[in-house]
């Protein structure tokens, strides 16, 4: 286990244990009323109301961020895309960087990102709110693998995947984007912009992020087909 996570788990353990004891104590003295912790903003003399007196549970357990998952599809439909990203250390001959945290996010087949709708930050159903966003930690080969769908596109941008690489301690090492190859036999051509088509599409040479990438260093290798699904391979080197 990585040292920081290990220390963290100790901290969580230390927090949880006394509370578990407290919970056990409560369940064995069910006749006492009002032992429940006062909630934040709960009852006060100004507004007297009955505090909850139910069996506690299920007991909260520490869970990682919901981003930590390999399959980020969340029910979004589209052509399957397996993204294999290798993180190298540019301060070490680009050799694989293990234990790096890699966040990726991209838009759905219609070109929309998961986010609170509109500018008003309205309520959202918690079941599927962070679609097409994920986080993995690199293995000893520097590799992370995500299962997703081939991204759609939106006005002004070529097809792309956002990537944020952190070291094991969570310090940002690189914010970048992955571009897709173009041309007659490319995946971008095969997907053909899903239902939008390619009218008005911004190609890499006109894209305000990728247009200065004359050597194609930001362009991934993408193989496969719409029926078999696509596989994206990308090496990203970061200073670690």
């Amino acid at each position: 286990m990585e040292r920081k996570n290990f220390l963290r788990s100790l901290v969580i353990g230390a927090i949880s244990t006394p509370v578990i004891l407290e919970a056990c104590k409560k369940s064995s003295t069910t006749s006492s009323i009002g032992t429940t912790t006062t909630p934040t903003g709960g009852s006060s003399t100004a507004s007297c109301s009955v505090a909850p007196t139910e069996t506690e549970g299920p007991f909260p357990t520490h869970t990682p961020s919901s981003y930590v998952r390999s399959d980020i599809t969340d029910g979004k439909t589209g052509y399957k895309l397996t993204a294999k990203i290798v993180i190298g250390n540019s301060n070490n001959n680009c050799n694989p960087l293990a234990n790096a945290i890699v966040d990726i996010w991209h838009c759905d087949a219609e070109g929309n990102y998961s986010e609170y709708g509109g500018s008003g930050m309205q309520a959202t159903n918690y079941q599927s709110v962070h679609f097409l966003r994920g986080r993995q930690t690199t293995d000893t080969n520097g590799l992370v693998t995500f299962t997703s769908i081939f991204p759609g596109w939106y006005s002004g941008r070529a097809t792309h995947i956002h990537v944020h690489v952190y070291n094991a301690a969570g310090t940002s090492l690189k914010v970048t984007q992955i571009a897709f190859p173009e041309g007659t036999s490319s995946a971008v051509a095969a997907v053909n912009g899903y239902s939008k088509g390619m009218s008005g599409y911004t190609y890499n040479k006109s894209d305000n992020v990728f247009s200065d990438d004359s050597s194609g260093i930001e362009i991934a290798t993408v193989t496969g087909s719409t029926t078999a699904g696509f596989v994206l391979n990308m090496q990203i080197s970061v200073p670690a």
Partner: protein, 164 residues
């Protein structure tokens, strides 16, 4: 009175002083996620606080949404039940599917400054009547006839969110 359909909102504030296990987990994990996600909007490391980011960096309001990813699985652990709000016999009775997570304050240098809110929006209720200071309600899914009801008082941080 005429029956009306309402939803309630419970705004739960969580800060460094919270002592319940669930609150502490949500507090700590949302802070860690804030420290990760804030770096995207702070690539020159110019800012330390959430409010500095909000006032100076375009798009940083997405941090509310982005940080909420850290607490979704804690919401799942609630099994759709809004915590802490009880009816007048002391039982939790409000269910939810909708929520809104807010960062109220935070500071990359100091977890003590981290304050968040989770707004829980209840599933619809039928508001039958008001007896003294208590609302008499049933879940919208309750069948006609001998309807089971809940009585509860509107208390601080609990409000009627919508009505029809």
């Amino acid at each position: 009175m005429e029956k009306r359909i309402i939803t309630l909102c419970y705004r739960k504030i969580i800060d460094i002083n919270c002592t319940k296990a669930w609150d502490k987990l949500v507090f700590e994990d949302s802070y860690q996620e804030f420290k990760l996600q804030a770096q995207f909007y702070n690539q020159d490391k110019k800012y330390n606080t959430f409010s500095e980011l909000i006032y100076n960096v375009k798009g940083s309001e997405k941090l509310h949404f982005l940080v909420s990813g850290a607490i979704i699985d804690y919401l799942r652990q609630l099994n759709d039940v809004i915590p802490e709000i009880a009816n007048n016999i002391g039982k939790p009775f409000l269910t939810f599917k909708q929520f809104k997570f807010e960062i109220i304050n935070s500071d990359l240098r100091n977890i003590d400054k981290h304050v968040i809110a989770i707004n829980f929006y209840s599933e619809p209720l039928i508001w039958h009547d008001t007896i003294a200071s208590y609302l008499l309600t049933s879940p919208l899914t309750a069948t006609e006839g001998d309807m089971l009801t809940d009585m509860f008082a509107i208390q601080p941080f609990l409000t009627i969110h919508s009505i029809k």
